[in-house]
């Protein structure tokens, strides 16, 4: 939320200040661009125009070497490239000069011998709002956005405990077989509280027990396990007729959270509502 306010403030500043970075664009366009979901925001200094430090990126008017002076916002799992020289693909070639420091809003473009970023927008380094410590690194923000998306797509969100787990019986002679078979198992979850949807007091959850590359990241469950589930309902007639009742899945790695995150997830559900 703080980050959104800061970005909005920056957008407003750019709109009012007629920043040279957006020559040729409408004011609405400038604002839309800068508030777009730029994943990597940093204070950087142009070290060399028309340059590149990736062998696969030819140096053109649209590329420049930029030294990252201070990272203001980055995805939580992204390394800190502070003090490193990166290649920046400029949104408007020819408008920045050697030695200029700017706050750059970027997205990741390439991982090579050096990092390459794609500019979404930039603003003056003198912007005090951007330089304050009030910009939070987006580690938890990014994950919240991702979980929020999962919640938005979910048919139900529950807090509960796994009561039983069984493998779905399959005819051992049933062919064909593949190494990517998910090896479905069915977990019955006793619901302690419902944060979204109306799944009932007990939920049947299909999960892939396979550790094949296609399924290894999907959460696996065992009897006694407690937590928060973000559930998708499977509406396949074949499934519901075989199981005899509604069936859910939680296939994304974010779809199962420890019970300690219940309040956090509850806030996200309420935020969506």
């Amino acid at each position: 939320m703080i980050r959104d306010c800061v970005l909005a403030a920056l957008a407003t500043c750019m709109f009012l200040c007629n920043d040279a970075s957006s020559i040729g664009q409408t004011s609405e366009h400038r604002e839309a661009r800068v508030t777009r979901n730029a994943t990597y925001i940093f204070l950087g200094r142009i070290e060399k125009e028309r340059a590149s430090n990736l062998a696969i990126v030819p140096a053109t008017d649209a590329t420049a070497l930029v030294k990252i002076q201070k990272v203001l916002s980055r995805p939580g799992n992204m390394p800190d490239f502070s003090n490193q020289m990166i290649t920046l693909k400029l949104i408007t070639p020819g408008t920045l000069k050697n030695g200029e420091s700017m706050i750059f809003f970027t997205n990741v473009w390439l991982y090579g011998e050096n990092l390459a970023l794609e500019e979404v927008a930039h603003t003056s380094a003198e912007d005090k709002t951007a330089n304050t410590a009030s910009i939070e690194k987006t580690g938890s923000e990014a994950e919240n956005v991702a979980i929020e998306n999962r919640v938005r797509l979910a048919a139900a969100v529950i807090v509960g405990r796994v009561v039983t787990v069984r493998a779905l019986q399959k005819d051992s002679n049933l062919r064909p077989m593949t190494e990517h078979d998910p090896e479905w198992q069915l977990a019955e979850i006793a619901v302690e509280s419902t944060l979204k949807g109306t799944p009932g007091a007990k939920v049947s959850l299909l999960f892939p027990n396979s550790r094949d590359v296609a399924w290894f990241q999907s959460p696996k469950f065992r009897v006694g396990q407690e937590g928060v589930w973000i559930l998708q309902e499977q509406k396949s007639k074949e499934v519901t007729s075989a199981i005899g009742k509604p069936v859910y899945t939680a296939l994304d790695a974010l779809d199962f959270r420890p019970k300690s995150e219940m309040q956090r997830i509850k806030k996200l559900v309420l935020k969506r509502d």
Binding site: T39, Y40, L54, A55, I56, V57, P58, R74, P75, N77, M78, P79, D80, F81, Q84, N107, V108, L110, Y111, G112, E113, N114, L115, A146, L168, K170, N173, L174, R175, P176, M177, T178, E179, H180, D181, P182, E183, W184, L206, S210, R211, D212, V213, A214, W215, F216, Q232, Q234, S236, E238, V239, A242, T249, L251, D252
Partner: protein, 571 residues
Amino acid sequence: MKFLSCFRSRSAVMFALFTFATSTTTAQKVTVINMIPRSSSNETNQDSEPNLAVNPANPSQMAGSAFTPNPPGVPAGTSPIYLSGDGGTTWTLSSIIPGSNHDITLRFGGLSNTLYVSWIDGQFIYLDTEILRVTPFPTPQNLTVLQDLKKECIFGFCDVIDQPYVEATTVTAGSGSGSDRVYIGENDIGKAGGNGDTASLNQSLDAATAAPPAGFNSLYVDARPTCGQDAPSVRAAVHSSGVVYAAFMHESQCSSLPITSDLVVVRDDNWGASTVPYSDLKGTDTNPGVAIVTGISSQFTRDCIGSTGPACMGTERLGSPISIAVDPNNAGNVWVAWADGTDAPNYTLHVRFSNDKGLTWHGDVRTVTPATNPALAVNSKGVVGFLYQKFVAHGDCLRPKNDNGTSCWETHLETSSVGSTWSDLKLANTPDEPAQFNPSLGDYIHLMSVDKTLYGIFSANNFPAMSNFPQRVIYQRNVDFMTNRLLDVNSAAEVSISVDPFFFSIVPDPCQSMVDNIQALQDQMDELDNLLGDPGISQAAQQRIRATIRGLAKLMANEKAQLQQCELQHQ
């Protein structure tokens, strides 16, 4: 007596030295390159199951793939491939695959500068098999999804088009000149009806320019009833004359383990566009396809992480590895490699070839036990490359201090210009662990040729010990070889060991095996000469040693004559 017994034991040693079916000394050098870019130094992914594409129109342009997830900060919903514009010296991750990248392979068309990628995209309960066409250089452009076949994986069985394996070329003469022909071996286990024939070639005769689906159409190539399916691996080899081979495992018994299969090769002499496609090679039963070998026993399992069992070679699961390659100078010369065995210790790679377009096949010209992931290629000089990974239960690879394992994987490249003597290069000798998912190294690796050069890719444990890479290795990611540590992007913190893809290229000397043999003979003669200088050797023993040296000298003369002939032939 003391001296005789001493010489007897030395005789035993000398006898062992005399056997040199495969030489281990070589003057060829190749550098192996770890493909993880420096800016990805923090990564600890299991980048297994690699594949490689080299642009025949510009061999400095290459693309690679593996089970590499998107690096941090890249928008979700895409996956990366590796790109190099400088012949494999530097590699960059570029996230151009729309979706997740399971079972991904890629190949350039012959002259079109167009890259074709096929992969399985896992989207919740669906496993979609897709084909992408892209011009990756100078920057990726013209991205077009040519085909996206959605398959459900929720219940009953997993209806997936498995293990898509791409081959491609450009027609250079005759009808269709200039068009890209693309052949993707697939195992369509969801195919309804038929006789359980799931091996297919999904092919296009004009892949570079046609609008989606660019003519891609699956042709089922197993004409004989199966036990319910064919094995996952279906591989194609394309000759510039329009001869297309495909190899697959026809499963005849699959209701219990081990599975029983026949290795079958089919052929089409007209780009797969014959009136009855892939029927130009017939077996004794007059059905299309020749069974090179029947009754192959193989195991099957999905999980070898922390598991043992007959279908696990360390952490690597066993499957149906096949490779097929055709001589670019002669469409009638075709090579195949496959694996069989009822358990891991007996799992054997075989190499065979045919001189008559697949009608008859010579016996094994090479076997390796226990090993997996065979990959074959033939270069423009007729040199055959055989890349594979050999399992050593108690190996001598260096490993991290906290790793108590003993097993190692040796990655070998063998080359031969005659198919009978092979020159061996050990590219890597790396620890078996760790494994986050299956397969730990991959269900395949890849070897290919452009003109004289062989290009290859394999995945291996990335513990940074130079001695684990006998031919030398270059790491792009930050590393300290003195302290055997991977380092993060700031060269500050240590990074955990994992599995990385490795690239190499070599112009093999077609006469290398003879050079190796001459060197081995010389080494033995030198050893015997040293023995003669030992005052403890009896007169009788000295006479025997001298006779042995004379015998070796004759062998040396013979090898030198063969070398001379070989060099004249390949001038």
